[in-house]
Amino acid sequence: MKIKQMFLWQLLSSRVAFIIFFCIITALTTILTIVAAFVQDGGTFNMSAASIGVFFLFVAGCASFAENLHIAFGNGVSRRTHFLSFLLFAAFASALTAVLGVLIDMIPGLSPSTYTPFLSEAPGIQMLFFFTLNLGMMALGYFFAGAYYRMNKAAKIAVSIIIPVTAILCIVFIMNAATPAGPAFQPIPQFIQWMLHSLTNAALFWLLFALLFLVFGWLVTRRAGIRHQQAAG
């Protein structure tokens, strides 16, 4: 198994992106904290770097399919090893981003006059929550990229229209689900309330979400082929 090599390659190829991202977030948080402290107009400030990291890792997940798979193909690495190395890297990147995100989010706390914490739980719980959320988003990004890679042109066009429309409808539905609904939809607001009740509950949900999309990710990986012949198929 060449998991170590694939993991090392992913570290080498993505380290610059991660360093730049964390430098920008740290710099922005620091500068905006100082600015907020000087303005002193009674406003509050929280950069929520950990939340921004979630979007970053979603993009990283999207970028982890085709390029990594081609590197694997070009260097005698099986799909299984490629996927396992992604899993390892996703866990590492999610943990790193969660820890650094929560730590960076502590910077505004140095100026208590303007700081209102976004999350009130202990840092350890926050890190666990963001770790599972990050992992879920990376898995989702990987699955999206993999599914898109496997599709033919017609399917890509159909999905490009159907998915955003469905997502918008789902968001509208969920936002309205908080209001009294018919018995068939009652579990949804109950579930959302359960999730919002504590970060541990939410972490559990995102962990299951990550596992589900990792399974989907493996399904799109296990028979993926080289791009031009894939397209021919």
């Binding site: 198994m1 060449k2 090599q5 090392l8 390659w9 080498l12 190829s13 390029e67 081609h70 590197i71 193909f73 070009g74 260097n75 005698g76 690495v77 099986s78 799909r79 299984r80 090893t81 028979r223 082929g225 080289i226 791009r227 031009h228 012949q229 021919a232 198929g233």
Partner: protein, 279 residues
């Protein structure tokens, strides 16, 4: 040894390979020939796990090849596709390849790049078709792998670079024997290099023989047109060429009773290929 057993590969309505059986032994140079769409690239992609067979199995030294990192690590393949992002610099890819192939010879790769005039500071996206081929050739030659697979290795290369490639391939082969599989349409250029010929037609193996055997399948006679035409009458002629008053005829069968006025040379592989693969 790489064994391909009853392999079928289908792409929706197209069957690229149909119940294919072929073996590639150790330390030999193979020529993998076939017309466009015959299934050569598909076979090479299956041998490198870049595609999954619809049916059948591939083995290396008796062990399954598909999804086997250890076996796949013994193969380096220069395929049609460029598997690296256009924004990556060549020297970076040399470094990455060394991670995956412990036998990768960086010094050799650099020396080859210099011989071919390839600037390793460039990005892949900045290379012309020819230099992209050269870059992939260098990666494969310097990989240190036991099986070197080349799919259209000289695509876009000028005559000088093609000659240099063949010379470097032979030098690598003699210095460190390995199995080489050359898939190309430039049959005349590799005819003297290859020890074994595999011809694919419509996804099936049409011919799988050592070069010596193929040469003994026929012969070429040349001489004055009238003399060649007279002697060849009634014989199994694969093809012929005329230049002025001279004629060259490729004939299937044993050469006996050829008059002294005609010159006999070994059978031309390209003529045999054209004859066998013409529909």
């Amino acid at each position: 040894m790489i064994e391909v057993r009853n392999v079928t590969k289908k792409f929706r309505n197209v069957t690229a390979l149909q119940g294919l059986n072929v073996s590639f032994g150790e330390n030999r140079i193979y020529g993998l020939l076939g017309r466009n769409g015959a299934g050569k690239s598909t076979l090479l992609n299956l041998m490198t796990n870049r595609l999954v067979p619809t049916e059948g199995f591939l083995y290396m030294d008796g062990f399954p090849l598909t999804e086997n990192d250890k076996a796949l690590g013994k193969i380096a393949c220069m395929g049609e596709d460029t598997l690296y992002e256009p924004s990556v610099r060549l020297r970076r890819i040399f470094e990455w390849t060394a991670i995956f192939y412990p036998g990768f010879d960086s010094a050799y790769a650099s020396a080859l790049a210099e011989k071919f005039g390839l600037d390793v500071r460039k990005k892949i996206g900045q290379l012309s078709t020819g230099y992209r081929s050269i870059f992939k050739l260098i990666l494969t030659l310097a990989s240190g792998a036991e099986y070197l697979l080349f799919d259209e290795p000289v695509l876009g290369l000028d005559a000088n670079h093609r000659q240099l490639f063949y010379a470097e391939l032979l030098a690598r082969y003699s210095k460190r024997p390995c199995t080489v599989i050359l898939s190309t349409h430039l049959i005349e250029e590799i005819a003297n290099l290859i020890e074994h010929v595999v011809i694919i037609k419509n996804g099936r193996i049409l011919l799988d023989r050592p070069s010596e055997e193929i040469q003994s399948m026929g012969f070429t006679v040349s001489g004055r047109k009238e003399a060649v035409e007279e002697w060849c009458a009634g014989k199994n002629i694969l093809g012929s060429q005329e230049i002025g008053g001279l004629m060259l005829a490729h004939i299937l069968g044993e050469h006996s009773g050829v008059p002294a006025s005609l010159t006999v040379t070994p059978l031309d592989l390209q003529q045999l290929f054209i004859h066998l693969t013409n529909s």
